[in-house]
């Protein structure tokens, strides 16, 4: 059993794949449904005598709801799952097993990174297709091309997210520590990106790009795409260097 099959087994038997599938499917099937019934929900929760007018919900609104939740809840789940796989030295006994057999950090890290990232993107795609189906059933046609470009950009965002986890797993041993620092850094990037245009090139720009593309309001995202494509390579390179030198 080589390292790639071992990682596939890890993703399946630890139920991390199921956790990812569950979250993205719930978002994909749930958000369009929630959007569809939003007017009734709002009206039902309003106090007597208060009249609330909710605009008519559309297919882009449903996809926006899904994409926004992917950017927040989806990212959080990906960070949790990735940290559980990529914090190689979190359990000393297991680290001894791996480190005394795999002497190159590349062989130790890359299978884990690739498999957990691929699983996250695959489950994101599953959720996106679930959202597409549900939205089409409830609202009608969805701009398919924009949705697929959004999926590709959000997939790139997940490549970045897991590389952030790899990087901090090379400095911090505990899973919780890796999760905490990774989320803190991603939140900081999101806050910076929210500032006026100076930080529009940050990878967080891609986190909910599906929603922007559906509304034709993505703007110039190419700088962010370029940075998000390069950053994982730099992060993994740094992590490999660091892990290769770290004592157990």
């Amino acid at each position: 059993m080589g390292p790639w099959r071992l990682e596939l087994l890890r993703t399946w038997r630890t139920r991390r794949l199921i956790a990812l599938a569950a979250v993205f499917l719930i978002l994909g099937l749930g958000m369009p449904l929630l959007t569809y019934f939003l007017p009734e929900i709002v009206k039902g929760s309003a106090a007597k005598g208060v009249q609330i007018t909710v605009p008519k919900q559309t297919a882009p609104d449903a996809i926006t709801g899904f994409a926004s939740n992917v950017a927040q809840l989806g990212t959080l789940v990906v960070v949790l799952v990735a940290a559980a796989s990529l914090a190689i030295d979190a359990n000393r006994g297991l680290a001894v097993f791996y480190r005394t057999r795999v002497h190159r950090a590349t062989l130790l890290v890359l299978p884990r990174y690739v498999v957990v990232t691929a699983a996250s993107i695959a489950m994101l795609a599953l959720g996106t297709f679930a959202a597409l189906y549900e939205t089409t059933v409830l609202f009608g046609t969805v701009p398919f091309g924009a949705l697929m470009i959004g999926l590709a950009l959000e997939g790139l965002w997940f490549c970045f997210v897991t590389s952030v986890v790899v990087l901090f797993a090379s400095f911090i041993r505990s899973v919780l520590g890796v999760v905490g620092v990774s989320i803190a850094v991603l939140l900081s990037l999101a806050l910076l990106e929210g500032l006026p245009s100076a930080f529009s090139w940050l990878p967080t720009r891609l986190a909910s790009s599906g929603a922007d593309l559906i509304h034709h309001s993505a703007g110039d995202i190419w700088h962010a795409v370029f940075v998000t494509a390069i950053a994982p390579l730099v992060g993994i390179w740094l992590a490999l260097n660091r892990l290769g030198k770290r004592e157990l």
Partner: protein, 305 residues
């Protein structure tokens, strides 16, 4: 195949010196026992040899390629979601030496785990983990095996099985093993290194060490032996004396020549009823206590061994 050697191995943690210049010499194909009290630096030494820690100074010559060295930690751990046979499959696969299912099954049988081959490791006892750890080490057919307390978690029968497996490796694999059970070390090891406070206080053949040990006499008298015990304790040629069973004395001799002349005199003066006088067997444990000054009835003066 070359043996395993270290040259002036030093390991410090801040101001604490864990290893103070260790020169191990483990000839190829021998079984070498590294013993020492807790905290003497055994595990640190083994982890440096296994590549898990870097020495602060000195160097290591494993004698074989890095991927031909297997390390079995004292508390082996495996992914709980793998079965025993999958653990061996993964251990071989990660070393890029895949084995057939039959070979994996044979290895499990060798360590007494064939009945648990398809069980998830998460439910294994500590003893089963130890057996699987040894199997995972041997599955890659190493030329050098480093085992930290390989039989520590096992019952007496299990200990014998694991010790037998290790002793079968003699000649084909260089084995460096630590153990708190000195009887095991005495039984299977050709050479021994004694570590104390991060320093190698003895290294050589086990039989040479035993031959250089302090001479001791076993004297059996009809109880009570209190008067004889007191007289012997005061005798200048006696280094220490203790009573095991009532009337059974073990006398560590500082000056053998004086002992041969004076012992009958002391026995006569104390008017004891003598049952037996003979040479006491010297165990590795006695020598170990002496070298590391950790025994129950020591300390002894340094003997320059």
């Amino acid at each position: 195949m070359k043996g395993l050697r270290t040259f002036g191995l030093v390991k410090t943690y801040g101001a604490t010196e864990a290893l103070g210049g260790i020169d191990l010499d483990v000839p190829a194909g021998t079984i070498y026992g590294l013993v020492g009290p807790n905290g003497s630096g055994k595990t640190t030494t083994l982890e440096i040899l296994a590549g898990l820690r870097r020495p602060s100074a000195g160097r290591v010559d494993l004698g074989v390629a890095e991927d031909l060295v297997a390390y079995c930690p004292d508390a082996a751990e495996f992914e709980p979601w793998l079965s025993a046979i999958e653990v061996l499959d993964a251990a071989a696969g990660l070393l890029r030496r895949p084995r057939s299912r039959a070979a994996l099954g044979e290895m499990l049988e060798r360590v007494g785990l064939s009945d648990a081959a398809n069980r998830r490791v998460g439910g294994f006892s500590r003893g089963m983990h130890s057996r699987l750890g040894l199997a995972a080490g041997l599955i890659g057919e190493p030329k050098c095996l480093i085992a930290d307390e390989p039989a520590a978690a096992l019952d007496p029968e299990g200990r014998w099985e694991i010790i037998d497996i290790l002793s079968d490796l003699a000649g084909s694999v260089t084995v460096l093993v630590t153990s708190h059970d000195l009887a095991d070390v005495e039984r299977i090891c050709d050479r021994i290194g004694v570590l104390a406070k991060g320093r190698l206080v003895y290294q050589g053949d086990v039989k040479d060490l035993l031959a250089r040990a302090a001479p001791a006499l076993r004297v059996v008298v009809r109880p009570p032996a209190g008067r004889l015990l007191a007289a012997l304790a005061d005798a200048p040629w006696v280094r220490s004396v203790k009573e095991g069973e009532p009337g059974e004395l073990r006398i560590d001799i500082g000056d053998p020549r004086s002992a041969e002349v004076r012992l009958p005199e002391v026995l006569a003066d104390c008017e004891v009823r003598l049952v037996e006088v003979g040479r006491a067997g010297v165990s590795l444990q006695d020598v170990f206590f002496e070298l590391t000054a950790t025994g129950p009835y020591r300390p002894l003066k340094a003997r320059g061994l």
